[in-house]
């Protein structure tokens, strides 16, 4: 069975007592979601990569690979990553990121 993961959701989760940005890959069908959904940290865009240690990233990719292997073994499936939420136009993320949100004050 072919599993297509075609949705990325970024959200906040409390992990080990810290609010952490998490990107979730959501399979297209919910039947597979119970087996195939998992979390990765800043995985595709590379956003905030400086806030994640290389070790964390490596661990994450290892977890993904493990998950893929498990799914493939269980379902004889092909995992096809396809990110359908995308941005085009004049926006060029990465070249124009300023360090801090405009006018923000934290009290």
């Amino acid at each position: 069975m072919k599993i297509i993961i075609n949705k990325l959701e970024t959200s906040m989760q409390e992990i080990d007592g810290n609010m952490t940005e998490v990107t979730t890959l959501v399979p297209t069908n919910y039947e597979q979601a119970t087996q195939g959904s998992y979390l990765i940290y800043n995985p595709v865009t590379g956003e905030n990569i400086s806030e994640s240690s290389l070790e964390d990233m490596q661990k994450t990719y290892e977890q993904i690979n493990l998950m893929i292997n498990q799914i493939q073994a269980a379902e004889q499936s092909l995992l096809d990553f396809r990110y359908s939420v995308f941005i085009t136009g004049s926006h060029d993320a990465g070249d124009d990121v300023s360090p801090y949100p405009y006018a923000l004050e934290i009290v």
Binding site: M12, M19, S84, V85, G89, P101, Y102, V107
Partner: protein, 174 residues
């Protein structure tokens, strides 16, 4: 150029925020959603315009677009479209993107403050204040302020009429 800020984690507010500055009128971002509709109930993020204005349009659909002005919180209604275009209508148009914690939603309210009226942002609330002159914790400010109350409340006094937009996580019961 569209200058997207780094995302800031507001741990106590339980949200992630950043700002996007469109330096020229006519700058655009095109996006594609997997979902076939764009609704406040299903779309978890909120976008607050803090300077200039934007036009939201929905290419390849019959859905009518909307202008999103200073102080507006987008989306405020349902749009039956999966493609969207954000276009700045003025130079230096700016909006904030606010992302909630997983399985939580953002609650937003808007309050018009008359001259002399006061309001409070409680701890764990994010506030946007718009007006010619107002004070936040006794500090005079003009035009716009963005206040994240991570550890302390913010007391607002409208020196002149202003608008307060509050957002907070559904995790809290204010």
């Amino acid at each position: 150029m569209i200058n997207v800020s780094k995302k800031v984690i507001l741990k106590n507010c339980r949200m992630l925020i950043n700002s996007s500055i469109y330096d020229l009128a006519g700058s655009i971002i095109d996006g594609q959603l997997v979902e076939s509709a764009f609704t406040p109930a299903t779309y978890p993020y909120r976008h607050v315009v803090v300077a200039g204005s934007f036009e939201m349009s929905f290419p390849n659909s019959s859905v009518l677009g909307d202008n999103v002005m200073i102080g507006d919180v987008f989306p405020w209604k349902d749009y039956a479209a999966s493609s969207f275009r954000v276009a700045s209508r003025e130079d230096n148009s700016i909006y904030y993107c606010i992302i909630p914690s997983t399985n939580e939603t953002l609650i937003n309210t808007s309050i018009e403050l008359s001259q002399g009226q006061t309001a409070t942002l409680d701890v764990c609330q994010l506030g946007f204040i718009f007006g010619p002159e107002f004070t936040v914790n006794s500090v005079t400010k003009n035009n716009v302020a963005v206040i994240a109350c991570e550890d302390n409340p913010a007391h607002i006094v409208a020196s002149q009429p202003c608008k307060l937009v509050k957002l907070y996580s559904s995790f809290y019961k204010f």
